[in-house]
């Protein structure tokens, strides 16, 4: 298995949708073969179409608000006393997280193919919020599938979805989290693929969804590359990019443009959700060596029992609470281009405390996982090492959990 240079990773895929002949694919019911093929043809054509790219860029710039900030966390760096810690504040994007890129692209595609409805899954509620926002913008009817447990713990985003006029469909099956929401959303698509488009909320699902999402979130690293050169004159000699990994959409987008650099110069560190310190359950299939299995149409490392039943996960962060992980990350792990590790619930909470103590930045629980590992490793690194953490979501949605776990003073009064 080898990573090719000069070809975008989303295009290093076989005809049948596999990366490295091993990850991804299209394990879907027959009914979805045609809609998936249609979407493939449409996407492959449009991603080479200059007019379409310009249209996308226009929405990214004027509506989403590109570029998002790239800032030095001066006080945090001084406090830690090692490598320089910077952040790409992707939560600046319209709606407050990276999910807006994928949602916008899916709505653009749906609009062009004449679909009237768009359905999507959500865990933390960001994918749902952004899809509802984009659907409203483009005049599409929107249905969001969300696990009942996540509806309870991510209320601010649920309210936002409803405010945008979308329907929130609670999912009560299984663990009532993201994994069940994705299943239910796929079921809806199976039954309505003639009139509805589906937006998978991360770089997971059948291969085409992995590719569209990765193509969309890559905006993050396109911006970062320019910003790094503006700041340092060139890509730093020692660069480390930390990102949380649930499905893997923000991390892939954060790394994509740097894929061809040697990992000694530009290292990728993916941080999965280790779950509560005292629990055996986790959402870190790459870190803890889960076996390859098939989930939501794609072969990937996934938490499962010996029979192949998908195991329940546990994490304080709804956005990372997923038993599988993108085929792209499985491929990056096996080719050793990226390194993966996990942070526990408690470590993420501590990182949130530290970051908010020193900086005017309020990362949500998902990027707090990445901050946890970045802070830990920064101590041991030289001052000329540039650490960049993707702050891909804002903590506003987590106010309920933060108040419960850390107390009132960690919740911003807005």
């Amino acid at each position: 298995m080898k990573l090719k240079k000069k070809i975008p990773l989303i295009d290093q895929v076989s005809k049948s949708g596999f990366w490295g002949n091993k990850f991804g694919g299209n394990f879907v019911p027959e009914t979805l073969k045609k809609p998936i093929e249609d979407l493939e043809i449409q996407f492959n054509k449009l991603k080479k179409d200059k007019k379409f790219i310009n249209e996308r860029n226009r929405y990214f710039k004027n509506w989403i608000g590109s570029p998002t900030r790239f800032i030095k966390l001066e006080k945090l760096t001084n406090h830690i006393g090692g490598a320089q810690i910077w952040s790409k504040v992707v939560s600046d994007a319209n709606g407050g997280a990276h999910k807006v890129y994928n949602a916008t692209v899916h709505c653009l595609l749906a609009k062009r193919s004449g679909k009237k409805i768009i359905c999507g899954d959500t865990g933390a509620g960001y994918a749902g919020k952004m899809l509802s926002m984009a659907a409203k913008k483009f005049g599409l009817k929107c249905k969001i599938f969300m696990g009942a447990k996540d509806i309870a713990r991510q209320q601010p985003n649920v309210k936002a979805i409803k405010k945008n006029g979308a329907e929130v469909i609670p999912v009560y099956s299984g663990s009532q989290t993201l994994v069940d929401a994705v299943s239910e959303c796929m079921r809806f698509w199976v039954a309505n693929c003639d009139t509805a488009a589906m937006c998978v909320g991360s770089t997971v699902g059948p291969a085409i969804f992995v590719r569209i999402c990765g193509w969309s979130t890559s905006q993050i690293s396109r911006e970062l590359k320019v910003q790094l050169i503006e700041e340092f004159g060139s890509i730093p000699k020692k660069l480390k990019l930390y990102n949380c990994v649930g499905g893997g959409s923000s991390s892939f987008g954060f790394w994509n443009e740097f894929m061809d650099y040697d990992k000694k110069q530009c290292e990728f560190i993916g941080v999965e959700a280790g779950g509560p310190a005292r629990s055996k359950k986790h959402a870190a299939p790459l870190t803890y060596g889960s076996k390859i299995g098939i989930l939501h149409g794609a072969a990937q490392y996934v938490n499962q029992d010996s029979d192949g039943q998908i195991e329940e996960t546990e994490s304080i962060s709804a956005g990372l609470d997923y038993p599988g992980v993108s085929p792209l990350h499985c491929f990056l792990k096996d080719t050793k281009r990226a390194r993966y590790t996990a942070a526990s619930d408690e470590e993420a909470l501590n990182a949130f405390k530290t970051v908010t103590k020193y900086e005017k930045l309020r990362p949500s629980l998902e990027p707090s996982h990445a901050f946890s590992v970045a802070i830990k490793e920064a101590k041991k690194l030289s001052k000329d090492t540039i650490i960049v953490v993707n702050s891909c979501g804002d903590a506003y949605k987590d106010r309920g959990i933060l108040e419960k776990r850390l107390g009132r003073k960690y919740v911003k009064p807005n």
């Binding site: 394990f27 019911p29 073969k33 098939i294």
Partner: protein, 266 residues
């Protein structure tokens, strides 16, 4: 020896009727009960589809999901399912059994191990919901070598060219999904239109059997009499759920339902 699946179709043809295929989930609501149900309904059903419960079933509606979750909660494992089939076959050797499930269960068991186990326990056919053509070509060939039918699924979204290619590669039986729906959806297309599609498929290769499934209940089954075979799944799973809810015996109730279904297509 003729595969019992083909023999069952032959018998139904001789009786001038469609074959009745039932779907129940292995281990629902317990290992013993699901075996008892199979034994009891085998009097009226021509082919028994045995569902392998999976906890992320992307094509199943709420009735089958409920049955699957119930079976998993009660501890059913892949090896128990093979045991149920084996035990059933000891009492009724020629009644065909088809296992229906999702590919991850086969993948984890190992394709070859899985097929060997199918063979030794008496499985006659396989339906793998999320292993469509052409990805299933290689696995289907392996099935053929073991004299197990790999049953292709066809859907209203399957294009004409694709239909031809799939039928060409297909084994003697295929499964036509009546409408765009998960299992157990309400019939939202008229039986006439469904049969029109069905006839188009049949014309490609009239010698091959095609069954119709999805949305078939006691109420609708009579309208599809002209098909080679008809599958009823969710309605049966629902009957099990209702029986449990009312503290009645699922074996008796399901058997009654299957008898009624049969009477509608004779």
């Amino acid at each position: 020896m003729l595969n019992p699946i083909s023999a069952a179709f032959k018998k139904a043809k001789q009786e001038n009727r469609s074959a009745l295929l039932t779907y129940t989930v292995a281990g629902d609501s317990s290992k013993k009960q699901s075996l008892d149900i199979l034994k009891s309904i085998s009097k009226d059903a021509d082919i028994l589809e045995v569902g392998v419960p999976h906890n992320t079933p992307v094509a199943d509606g709420s009735q089958i999901q409920t049955s699957a979750y119930r079976a998993i909660k009660n501890g059913i494992k892949m090896n128990d399912i093979f045991k149920i089939v084996k035990d059933f076959k000891q009492s009724n050797k020629y009644k065909p059994i088809i296992l229906m499930g999702y590919f991850n269960m086969i993948f984890q068991y190992g394709e070859n191990n899985f097929l060997n186990k199918c063979r030794s326990s008496g499985v006659n056919g396989l339906i793998v919901v999320d292993l469509p053509w052409p990805e299933n070509k290689y696995f289907a060939k392996k099935c053929k070598k073991k004299s197990i039918y790999f049953i292709q699924l066809l859907s209203p979204t399957t294009t004409k060219i694709r239909l031809k290619k799939i039928i060409k590669d297909s084994h003697p039986m295929s499964y036509f999904i009546s409408m765009l729906s998960t299992t157990g959806g309400k019939l939202k297309v008229s039986p006439k239109d469904i049969l029109k599609n069905y006839i188009k498929i049949k014309k490609i290769d009239p010698k091959k059997e095609v069954v119709i499934g999805f949305g078939i209940t006691e109420k609708t089954i009579g309208k599809f009499k002209s098909a080679d075979g008809l599958v009823v799944g969710s309605a049966i799973c629902k009957e099990i759920s209702n029986s449990l809810k009312h503290r009645q015996n699922p074996v008796t109730n399901v058997s009654k339902l299957v008898k009624k279904l049969k009477s509608k297509i004779i």
